[in-house]
Symmetry: C2
């Protein structure tokens, strides 16, 4: 085990291997959806993929147990389908706090390929929603206001081009108790002032009894009860 600059230590060798597999899978996925090769070459690729699976399928955690590399307290979720370096579904978005920004202002850049396509040559409208939901959640987390999406509204002003550098931004506009209001946008890096898609969200931290019902069985890899929580939630961190 080794330590990095974030809250909890992790196995750096495993992290590197997981990141490596995530990268390899992303490259194969993009190549597989944009390819024009014939059936025999596609089958040859499938054979190698099937040969890879037993290596990782040899053991598995229950879905109620967090991966050993995760650190929910610092927001490290390595298989998050938008931002997780270990998730082949994720571009992944590298979401950073904006330097000099207010608490809860975050940004990310991404160039998305054909795997994320909806209308020909444009980003799937639902992918814009997925990425912006993650950006809003990250903004809430950056402000110490973890919550779950209660409402999400998306306005699509212009289609979002594939294979084009994009800028995603999000921030907290208001918060009160368990409820946080957030906004987010997608624009091209070339025209960051022209919003292509805009999101407004309400994120809510579940009441303690609901949180217990939803997350009562969640543990970390060591078996300790590890529900999602806000840094200010002293009750949930008792016993850590």
């Amino acid at each position: 085990m080794t330590t990095n600059d974030s809250a909890s230590p992790y196995d750096a060798d495993l992290m590197a291997a997981v990141a490596d597999l995530g990268t390899a899978l992303r490259e194969l996925i993009e190549a597989s959806v944009i390819t024009t090769v014939g059936a025999s070459e596609v089958r040859a690729a499938a054979e190698l993929v099937r040969a890879a699976t037993p290596h990782v399928a040899a053991s598995r955690r229950p879905v109620s147990q967090l991966p050993s590399l995760d650190d929910p307290a610092s927001g490290r979720r390595i298989y998050n389908p938008v931002s997780g370096i270990g998730s082949p579904l994720a571009p992944p978005l590298v979401i950073r706090r904006i330097t000099g920004g207010r608490p809860g202002e975050v940004a990310a850049e991404a160039t998305l390929g054909a795997a994320y396509e909806g209308p020909p040559s444009y980003l799937h409208g639902g992918m814009s929603a997925l990425f912006l939901d993650q950006m809003l959640g990250a903004a809430a987390g950056a402000a110490g206001l973890w919550g779950m999406t209660a409402r999400l509204e998306l306005d699509y002003r212009r289609p979002v081009p594939l294979e084009t550098r994009l800028v995603l931004r999000a921030g907290v506009t208001e918060s009160s108790g368990r409820k946080t209001l957030l906004t987010g946008t997608i624009a091209t890096a070339a025209e960051p002032g022209t919003t292509l898609v805009e999101a407004h969200g309400i994120f809510v931290q579940p009441r303690p009894e609901l949180a217990a019902a939803y997350f009562g069985s969640i543990t970390d890899a060591a078996g300790r009860h590890t529900p999602p929580r806000r840094p200010s939630d002293a009750t949930a961190t008792e016993g850590d």
Copy 2:
């Protein structure tokens, strides 16, 4: 080339190979995010994945050219990231018209694994948005009302559990000219009457001049101009 019951013929052998690779990748993706194996096994899987990539990376289409297996006229988009059998990102949702339903009523069932996780053991809120956007688009398409997402509203009533059979439904509520209003829901198959997430959407067919600007360069694999269109749009089908 062979013909199936849908509008246009396709290469059945290639279709089978593409479906096979999609399935193989989905299985590897799920195994890779739920695994508890060590770094050396993860690296062994990554090596095989990297060996697979050159088979499909040998040639590629531009993103403005549709895959040869696609048939936009009948809604066949094999790499769609929600419903495409060739998309490793897609569960894939098999969206069917509801027998005896009104035009534009569609349904799908799915069981989603850890690859789609947001809060521990639950579906990512943005994934609900992605899947429902696709359901709404499919409902519009089933009613002959193709359009692009202009607005999408999601209400999250309860978290959507992973590894649980889900039912997704969508339908057209109103349409007028280029604009279509739609609704959709996610529930568990065990309690189909209890809506977990509800979507309301406005889909709009772009005006001709906008459609020309957005899709002017889109072709099928044979090089014919193939913009997205409604069956009723005679202008766009000229010359086919």
